[in-house]
Structure formats: structure tokens, C-alpha cells
């Protein structure tokens, strides 16, 4: 009676789990490879945004395969010794409950604490190497450099953000069971605000639906949309086309505005809106550049009293410039930089690994390797690929990785 709906309606089997077909398929075939005794990788790293169903899929699959789940999560101490005591012992023991087998769930590895969970990653790698049972790890963001070794020993399975339609489907199902009359409009708003986070959507539904027989759109007003669900396109337009400092600054009052995100958006779109006046563009960029100096100073000194100045410069400072072009409608775009974040990370990883090899071999730092040695190797490879290949071989650099650099 008092179980939260997210628990109450948690999928019991993979069949109940909405969408995520690809993840299901991969997970099933990996678990089946265990039953054949020959898994290619002993661990799965299941990743995806919050509320995409990572933990749910594991429990549902365990249910389907009749496996007992041994779980360690961020609320447990996860130092090397603690892990050794808990998980490492059980992966070698037989099941107590007469089930067919066990599955270890290392939940929330992105919650490993740098200070408290000392040596955890190395311990996990040892555990995976010695394990005789399947191990699944979950994380929101697997691209953190400290997970590099974990990635290498794991099969990566991505849980996608759910689309709005799927979220609405689930919400409708719940309303039916809870006997709540609800307008599809309400569900659509909840689904949109959840940005693919099903758990958040269900929580919102319960928050306004609990004890009610019907829900209206106004009932949603008590809830705060989760971070950054504001329409950035509108916000940027407000800033860039503002006529007074107040108009430009008004966006700062929005609840849960992610100002760092806004900074990227303004940087991205400023040149489009101001393209007609170089003078205005230069002045606006000057303001952005000053704002950035404050951000840098805040980072270094941790003195947050400087934040208001940065925020003002990046809004009012950008909006109120001499020679500002007259308003015209310009199509804005999502910040390239954020879009390319994962590609940048991959590239950087490849580059770093190559530079580390050169740095070690040639006794220089990675930075020097990048500007003083790598360019020559590139020229040689381009002009004389055969010779270039030999040098790469001598260095011990994989040619395919090298080529992906540019």
C-alpha cells in the first residue's frame, strides 16, 4: 500500500521492460554464453542516463535466468579490502538458495569515491579476472578516464534514453492500475520533462496523482522541472536579442538554470546572431572572454562571490554592445562542443595513448611529443606510408589508431 510506484511497477521480467531491445538482446546472448561456459568477457558494463532502467534490466534478467543477485553499490564500503571481503568471497562460493547460480551486480561504479574507496578499481579488475559467475557493472558515464581499464575488460552495453512515447505508454498503464483519470496532455508534459528518465516520470506522476482521482495540467505547478529542462533555444534568444541589461539578465532568475550550459550555448550561437556586425561581435566576445576569466578565477580560488560578475558579463555584457545588428530571426543550434564531447573524449584517449608511447620512447613529455615529434611522424606517414608504417611498428603504435587521429 505504501510502496513507491517506481518499486510497485518495477518490471519483473525482461518482457515487461519497455523498449531497450538492443540492450536486452546483447544481455541475453551474453548470459547464454555463460550457460555454455564460454563467455568472451566476464563482465558487462551497463551504461546510460539515470532512469533508463539499468538496475531494472539486471534484476529482470536475473529473474528470467533464475539467478540470485549479489549486489554491491555506492552505499557499501568499497575499498579494495571491503570488496575482497564481500564480493570476492561470494564469487567463489556455491549458491545457498538452491537456485541455479548467481550474478554479481556492482551497481553505480561511477559513485566510487576517490578518497574513501581506495583501490576499488584495481580490486574490481582482480575480481572480474577471478570470477566464475557473471558480473554486471552499471554507470551513468563510463567515459571517465579512471574507468579506462574497466572498459577494456568489459562488454559495453548501452541503455538508451527512453523516447517520449514509451514513457507515456508506461504512465498510462500505471494510471489505469491506480484508477486515475488523466488527460494525455498531462502525461505528455510529465514525459517531456522527464527527458527519457522513466523513474523521474513515475515519481512525478505519483507526486501529483497520489490520493487523487483525476489530474489537471495546473496540478503540475508545484513541481520543479528537473535540471536544465528549460528550452535553451528560447533562453539564448532572450539573451542575444535583449535590448536592456535587465532583459538579458532576466534568464538568470530561472530556477535550475545551468549557467555553464548557457555559456556554451551563447558561445555557439553568438556569431550567427551578430554576423552582420564585426564590431558588435568583437565587443560581445570581449565580454564573454572576460566572463571566462572570472570563471577561471572562481575555479582557482573557489571564491564564488565572483560568480555574479561572470553571469552578468555573459548575459548583459553580450547583449549590450555598440553596433549591435537589428533583430532578425536566426536558427540556433545545440553547442557543437557538447555534441562532440564523446568523440572528443575518444580522440583524446587515442591521442594520449599514442603520445604516451612516444613520450616514453623518446624521453619527452606528452605535450612535447605532440608538437615536436608527432607532426614529423605524420609527415613521414603521409609522404611515404611504407616507411611510416615501419616507424610506427618500431614505436609500437597500432596503425589503425594512428590513422584515426586525422
Amino acid at each position: 500500500m505504501s510502496i513507491p510506484w517506481v518499486e510497485k511497477y518495477r518490471p519483473k521480467t525482461l518482457k515487461d521492460l519497455i523498449d531497450q531491445e538492443e540492450a536486452k538482446k546483447k544481455l541475453i546472448s551474453w548470459l547464454e554464453s555463460w550457460s555454455r561456459g564460454k563467455p568472451t568477457k566476464k563482465a558487462v558494463l551497463l551504461y546510460g542516463p539515470p532512469g533508463s532502467g539499468k538496475t531494472a534490466i539486471v534484476h529482470a534478467a536475473a529473474n528470467d535466468f533464475d539467478l540470485e543477485v549479489i549486489e554491491v553499490n555506492a552505499s557499501d564500503f568499497r575499498t579494495a579490502t571491503a570488496l575482497e571481503r564481500t564480493i570476492a568471497r561470494t564469487i567463489r562460493e556455491r549458491s545457498l538458495f538452491g537456485k541455479r547460480g548467481r550474478l554479481a551486480l556492482l551497481d553505480e561504479v561511477d559513485g566510487l569515491s576517490l578518497h574513501q574507496d581506495v583501490g576499488a578499481i584495481d580490486a574490481i579488475i582482480r575480481i572480474v579476472e577471478n570470477s566464475r559467475i557473471p558480473i554486471i557493472m552499471t554507470a551513468n558515464n563510463p567515459w571517465d578516464p579512471r574507468f579506462r581499464d574497466l572498459r577494456n575488460i568489459s562488454l559495453l552495453i548501452e541503455m538508451k534514453k527512453l523516447n517520449q512515447r514509451d514513457v507515456i505508454t508506461v504512465l498510462k498503464r500505471i494510471c489505469l492500475k491506480e484508477r486515475i483519470k488523466v488527460d494525455t496532455n498531462v502525461l505528455r508534459i510529465i514525459a517531456r520533462r522527464s527527458r527519457g528518465d522513466l523513474r523521474a516520470a513515475i515519481n512525478d506522476l505519483q507526486a501529483i496523482g497520489e490520493g487523487r482521482r483525476s489530474i489537471r495540467v495546473e496540478d503540475l505547478d508545484v513541481l520543479i522541472p528537473r535540471a536544465a529542462q528549460i528550452n535553451m533555444f528560447e533562453i539564448v534568444r532572450t539573451v542575444l536579442t535583449a535590448k536592456t541589461p535587465e532583459q538579458a539578465k532576466s534568464v538568470l532568475a530561472l530556477p535550475s538554470l545551468d549557467y555553464q550550459m548557457l555559456f556554451h550555448w551563447i558561445n555557439e550561437n553568438l556569431p550567427y546572431q551578430y554576423s552582420e556586425s564585426i564590431e558588435a561581435l568583437a565587443a560581445a566576445y570581449d565580454a564573454l572572454s572576460k566572463a571566462d576569466m572570472y570563471f577561471g578565477r572562481i575555479n582557482r580560488t573557489q571564491n564564488w562571490s565572483l560568480l555574479p560578475y561572470a553571469l552578468e558579463l555573459m548575459t548583459a555584457g553580450v547583449a549590450v554592445v555598440p553596433g549591435k545588428p537589428r533583430f532578425r530571426f536566426v536558427k540556433y543550434s545545440f553547442p557543437q562542443k557538447l555534441k562532440m564531447l564523446s568523440r572528443m573524449r575518444e580522440l583524446r584517449m587515442v591521442r594520449d595513448s599514442i603520445l604516451s608511447i612516444i613520450a616514453r620512447k623518446c624521453h619527452v613529455s606528452r605535450a612535447v611529443a605532440n608538437t615536436e615529434i608527432l607532426p614529423y611522424i605524420k609527415i613521414i606517414y603521409k609522404e611515404n606510408p611504407e616507411y611510416g608504417r615501419k616507424i610506427l611498428k618500431w614505436l609500437g603504435i597500432d596503425e589503425k589508431r594512428f590513422k584515426s587521429l586525422s
Partner: protein, 325 residues
């Protein structure tokens, strides 16, 4: 006048009494009625009743036994990852007493918890959802990690309206036998904006000086009145530099302000759209940059006197550039 802190003395004990958060109150009452409380995140500016609401909810939910079923942790308690993994987890794990099958764990100022500690909280909220509910209180949602946001219903606490605050102040003043003038109430509103706690604290502090009028209010909060700031700014903008400097010196001394304080006040006065300074918008934006620069220098340890003079000097130069005065 009683000795106790008025904010505590007049804190509403039941949801009904809360000042002007009807929507939220009605939602919370339904939870109480159904005895079904989801994980909650109360978000909004200081002094909008978040903690009050959490405590009132607890009282209505558990009645007499509320103390036994509620764990309150606030910023001054240790709330690192250790505490979450040991104390909070242990508490959440054990059975509740009475007819509500779960306990309530209130984490005040949750946005000040380290992200490590927040991480440790995630799975506890799910695994022990039968025996415990969490109520997190935060000023900024964005400082709560996403996975926790996703596990909560997030309630928005709005800053209180002027009328509501003034009405409450009048109520308290009467109870305490304090005389308050109209401009005193105005001034309290001005310095506290939608923050009821600050408003009440200010009232209490100012009442120690006698009748609460605007002078008393600005005095106790150590804040220069907008007029004084404007006067000094105008002197500087008009190039009456030495006079502006003397004026600033007086303000610093008589209000006991530090250099950074005064810079911050001047800055907010400049950017305040209701301020009556007649200067072009571009100049105002430049002033913000100047204030930031000087503030930074002071933070880095530069000499306050010299930097404040430089600040006024820069303002004077601006005045010259835009031909003000």
C-alpha cells in the same frame, strides 16, 4: 519581548499554518492522508518554508511519535560518505514505530553534501524504500546529482509575496509588543525579499534598538541605504572624486563594512532596475566588470583602501566617458 529566537517560536507546527504555499500544502496533506509519501526534494530560495514544511509533514504523519520516526541531519552534522554508509543506512534499514510503515529521513541543505555522499545515498533510497522515505532540502536543484533528482518528487518553493511577509511580521510584532513603522516594514521587505526567516530575524534584531523604523532596520543588517549608495555613485560619476572617497570612507566606518561588502552592495545597486541612477546601459555593464575586477583584487589580498579608491576612480572615468553629470 521574549528571549527565544522568534523564527523558532513562530515556526508553524502544522502544514495548515504555513504562509502562502497552498498548492504544496494540499499535496503534502494528501500524502499524509494516504500515508503514502514518495521521496521528496524540496527546492527553493532560503526562508521559503522548506524545513518548516518537512517538520510539519513529519508531525502530521506520525503524530505524537514523530520524534522517534524522524532522523534530521543538517549542514552542521557530519554528513560525509561515511555517515551515509553507516548511520543513515542503519537507520533506514530498521523498522518504523507506529502505524506508518516507514521512517522519514530529513537531509537539510542537501545541496551542500559532497557528491560522494550523494552517490552513496542513491541506492539506499531504493533498497530500503519499504522502511524509509527521504526528504531532501536544497536551495539549488542543480547541485543535487541527477540520479537522486530522478528518484524524488521535486517540489518548488516560491519566494514569499510581500503582503504575506508583512502580514506575518505584523502578527509577530503584535504578539511581542513591538512597535513597527510602515517604512520599517518596507525596509525589512527590501533587505529580506522573499526570505521569511531573514525577515523575522531582522525584525527581532531591530526591535532591540526600540521602535522598528527603516533606519533601525538598515542599521542592524549593516546595510547602507540605497540612497547613500546612489549619492556616492553620483558624486563619483560627476567627477567629484575626493568627495566620493570621503563619502565611501564614512559608509565603511559607520556601518562597519568590509571593502568587499561595499563593492557588492554598490554592484547590486547599479544593476538594480529600480534604482534611479540615470546612466546608459552600456555604462552599467561596464560598471559590473569594474566591480568584479576590484572584488577579485581584494580577494587576492590587495590593499582595500587603495582598491576602493581605484574603484571610485574607474567610476569617475566612466562618468567622463559617458559624459554624465
Amino acid at each position: 519581548m521574549s528571549e527565544a529566537l522568534w523564527v523558532e517560536k513562530y515556526r508553524p507546527k502544522v502544514l495548515e499554518e504555513m504562509v502562502n504555499q497552498e498548492e504544496i500544502v494540499s499535496r503534502l496533506k494528501q500524502f499524509v492522508k494516504a500515508k503514502a509519501v514518495p521521496h521528496l526534494l524540496f527546492a527553493g530560495p532560503p526562508g521559503t518554508g522548506k524545513t518548516t514544511a518537512a517538520l510539519a509533514l513529519a508531525r502530521e504523519l506520525y503524530g505524537e511519535r514523530w520524534r522517534e520516526n524522524v532522523l534530521e541531519l543538517n549542514a552542521s552534522d557530519e554528513r560525509g560518505i561515511q555517515t551515509i554508509r553507516l548511520r543513515v543506512k542503519d537507520y533506514a534499514r530498521t523498522m518504523a514505530l507506529g502505524d506508518v510503515p516507514y521512517k522519514l529521513i530529513i537531509l537539510d541543505e542537501a545541496d551542500n553534501m559532497t557528491s560522494d555522499a550523494q552517490q552513496a545515498l542513491r541506492r539506499i533510497m531504493e533498497l530500503y524504500s519499504r522502511t524509509a522515505r527521504f526528504c531532501l532540502i536544497a536551495n539549488y536543484v542543480s547541485k543535487i546529482i541527477e540520479p537522486i533528482q530522478s528518484r524524488c518528487a521535486i517540489f518548488r518553493f516560491q519566494p514569499l509575496e510581500k503582503d504575506d511577509i508583512i502580514e506575518r511580521l505584523k502578527f509577530i510584532a503584535e504578539k511581542e509588543g513591538v512597535s513597527v513603522t510602515e517604512d520599517g516594514l518596507e525596509a525589512i521587505w527590501e533587505v529580506s525579499r522573499g526570505d521569511l526567516r531573514k525577515a523575522i530575524n531582522t525584525l527581532q534584531a531591530a526591535s532591540a534598538l526600540g521602535t522598528v523604523d527603516s533606519r533601525a532596520v538598515y542599521r542592524v543588517v549593516g546595510r547602507v541605504t540605497p540612497e547613500e549608495i546612489r549619492e556616492m555613485l553620483l558624486l563619483a560619476l560627476r567627477g567629484e572624486f575626493i568627495k566620493a572617497r570621503e563619502c565611501l570612507r564614512d559608509l565603511l566606518i559607520s556601518y562597519g563594512l568590509s571593502g568587499v561588502d561595499i563593492i557588492r552592495m554598490i554592484h547590486s545597486e547599479i544593476m538594480n532596475p529600480r534604482t534611479k541612477l540615470e546612466i546608459p546601459d552600456e555604462a552599467r555593464v561596464e560598471l559590473a566588470d569594474i566591480a568584479g575586477e576590484i572584488n577579485f583584487r581584494m580577494v587576492e589580498g590587495a590593499d582595500e583602501e587603495i582598491q576602493l579608491s581605484a574603484f571610485l576612480a574607474k567610476i569617475a572615468l566612466l562618468g567622463r566617458k559617458y559624459r554624465i553629470g
